[in-house]
């Protein structure tokens, strides 16, 4: 009995953001009249899903004690490339998805290799790469080009038995990522490297390999997120990804993953992405101006971080 209570207490603390999400949803149902319409709920899911997917990848990187700021512009690059390639033709769907994931994985692998070879702080390295990717996008095109294949649009906006397809994609990726992190050797190795790299190395873990792996996952998740964003926009908009990287980091940290690495959880990350999406949706429905929205978002991030402070982390 006592043990059960303790387990519940521990769990509640770890999953604090999930409780925040539930409360926010209930609050929005009661207080905001237009919230509970099928169309609006679908909107919240579509808008949050891309961020959620991107934040899953960022969770891997941050768990490993690293950070990846290049994912926003990488997402933008993939949106542009895949729309330009697909040109709206349904038969190119498989090839376009393969390309999206391939470009993401390749870029992640380059980031990982540079991180291992150059030993620059990942914040500086990935900021440099952000700038490079931004330059590459705008050298490629300075206006929207191409058209997303119809399947992308279905993945972003469509429904399967009443459930938004984007939610299914997100749920599938979240479950996979959670299993990888909690049930596989590589998942434990990621946390070990993030917790104490030197100890992990001495315990025989291939730390370079693990770090490379997390950057590749981050790149692939940018590929998945790009598919959803391209589906929503319908065209290759060169600025599609700008600012996404910081939102992803905010979602990861709101989800309780410490920036120092070593401990955290993807389910909470995804819940935090939904909290962010829900906040902007509610503010939109209440017809609050975008300017005030930015301010409120900043204040909520600060407030949530202060409330949801990691307990065991040294300051």
């Amino acid at each position: 009995m006592w043990r059960d209570q303790l387990w519940w207490f521990r769990d509640a603390r770890h999953y604090g953001i999930v409780i925040v999400l539930l409360l926010a949803v209930i609050g929005a149902f009661i207080a905001v009249p237009d919230f509970n319409t099928e169309e609006n709920l679908g909107n919240v899911v579509t808008q949050s899903a891309a961020l959620g997917v991107l934040a899953i990848g960022q969770t891997f990187v941050i768990l490993c004690g690293l950070i990846d700021l290049s994912v926003g512009q990488l997402l933008g690059l993939i949106v542009v490339l895949s729309c330009d390639f697909a040109a709206g033709r349904p038969e190119r769907f498989i090839a376009a998805v393969t390309m999206a994931l391939g470009v993401g994985a390749a870029s992640g692998a380059i980031t990982g290799l540079l991180n291992n070879w150059l030993r620059i702080h990942p914040l500086i390295l990935t900021f440099g790469l952000l700038s490079i990717l931004q330059g590459v996008i705008f050298l490629y095109t300075d206006r929207s080009i191409g058209q997303a294949p119809p399947q992308f649009a279905w993945l972003a906006n469509g429904r399967l038995a009443g459930v938004p397809a984007a939610a299914l994609v997100l749920a599938l990726l979240t479950a996979t990522a959670h299993l990888v992190l909690t049930r596989t050797a590589v998942g434990r190795h990621i946390c070990a490297v993030g917790g104490n790299e030197e100890n992990a190395r001495r315990a025989g873990i291939n730390t370079h390999g693990v770090k490379l792996f997390t950057f590749v996952i981050s790149g692939v998740s940018a590929g998945f997120a790009a598919v959803l964003v391209a589906g929503r926009l319908g065209t290759g908009f060169p600025n599609a990804g700008s600012g996404y990287e910081l939102d992803a980091v905010v979602a990861v940290v709101l989800g309780g993953t410490s920036l120092a690495g070593g401990a955290g959880n993807v389910i909470c990350t995804v819940a935090a992405a939904f909290v962010l999406g829900l906040i902007s949706n509610t503010l939109n429905l209440l017809q609050i101006s975008t300017f005030v929205q930015i301010l409120v978002k900043g204040l909520i991030v600060i407030g949530a971080i202060l409330v949801n402070q990691p307990t065991g982390e040294p300051s």
Binding site: H121, G128, G135, V136, V292, I294, G298, V301, I302, P310
Partner: protein
């Protein structure tokens, strides 16, 4: 005796660490001279320093914060905020300039103070706290300006800051250099400056030896906000336009410059001298790309490559020596 020896050794290491980034800078300047004869002309160099002064002034404040072991990602937002406040308060009247400058610096310092309170009173990471406050400040900027370029600056304001002393050194560049010298002296020679190094390298020892950590944290973040506000004034003087997003993304340029200069994320090391070299490396590289006739997009690629390559070169030199 051992204490004295240790100080000497750490001073030597610090000197070597500082010189690594100057070697990188020297290499860049040599490459620049090969690219164009105009490169070493005083007017041109004065202009480069004028260009970098907004980011440079803010970088000095961020250096203080990072020596303390913190980080300040709100400086880009504060620079935009300050530029808008300054332009609106000036409102096209020369007589308003002192009030406008004072109000702007005060606003910057208040944002910095708020950051300091958040960081000192909580155990959450300053990275995410200042990221949140940068969002809040962007929102404030937008609300204050109504989303468009607002406010009128007077010609005298621009003329003063862009006046070239002796025909070459713009007042703006001189302002940056003076701020760097004062900042460098404060960090190296004052009791406050040395306490930053102690807190940054060993917070627990600093607490046990009775340093008022919370108060020093408040002062340091306020200083960073104040200097970012000053950077905003410099940006307004340089560009003449109070766009609401003028400083967007600048926080990472500033951060890259500070880290290039040898100040680490862990705190306790580095200094203003390195930061000056770091920001020079970034802007000299950007100018070289410009001189080579590359367009803005190619310049972005060069900028990224330079940040990555010079950090790598810097690490390599540091490990060699």
């Amino acid at each position: 005796m051992t204490g004295a020896l240790r100080i000497t050794r750490s001073t030597i290491t610090a000197t070597i660490e500082r010189s690594a980034i100057w070697i990188v800078l020297l290499a860049l300047v040599l490459a620049g001279t090969m690219l164009s004869d105009a490169f070493l002309r005083p007017v041109y160099l004065g202009n480069v320093v004028r260009q970098l002064s907004p980011a440079g002034i803010a970088a000095i404040g961020v250096t203080f914060v990072m020596v303390l072991g913190g980080i300040d990602l709100s400086v880009g937002a504060v620079i935009s905020f300050a530029a808008v406040i300054c332009a609106v308060q000036m409102n096209g009247e020369t007589g308003n300039i002192p009030w406008a400058l004072g109000a702007t610096l005060l606003a910057g310092a208040v944002v910095g103070l708020a950051n300091g309170v958040l960081v000192a009173m909580s155990r959450a990471s300053p990275f995410i706290l200042t990221l949140g406050s940068s969002l809040a400040v962007y929102g404030l900027t937008q609300i204050y300006s109504g989303g468009t370029a607002r406010g009128v600056i007077t010609p005298e304001f621009r003329d003063f800051f862009n006046y070239r002393l002796g025909g070459m050194l713009p007042v703006l560049a001189l302002t940056f250099l003076l701020t760097a010298v004062v900042g460098g002296l404060a960090l190296r020679c004052s009791r406050y400056g040395r306490s930053l190094y102690l807190i940054g390298s060993n917070p627990r020892a600093a607490r046990i030896s009775g340093l008022p950590i919370a108060r020093i944290t408040l002062v340091t973040y306020s200083l960073s906000g104040l200097l970012a506000g000053f950077g905003g004034i410099a940006l307004l003087a340089r560009s003449g336009v109070s766009s609401t997003f003028s400083g967007r993304g600048l926080e990472f340029d500033v951060l890259a410059a500070v880290v290039l200069g040898g100040t680490t994320f862990e705190g306790g090391t580095g200094g203003v001298g390195g930061t000056v070299a770091g920001i020079l490396v970034l802007f000299v590289a950007f100018n070289m790309a410009n001189m080579a006739g590359l367009n803005y997009n190619a310049q972005l690629i060069i900028k990224g490559a330079i940040i990555v390559a010079s950090s790598a070169a810097y690490n390599y030199l540091k490990r060699r020596e």
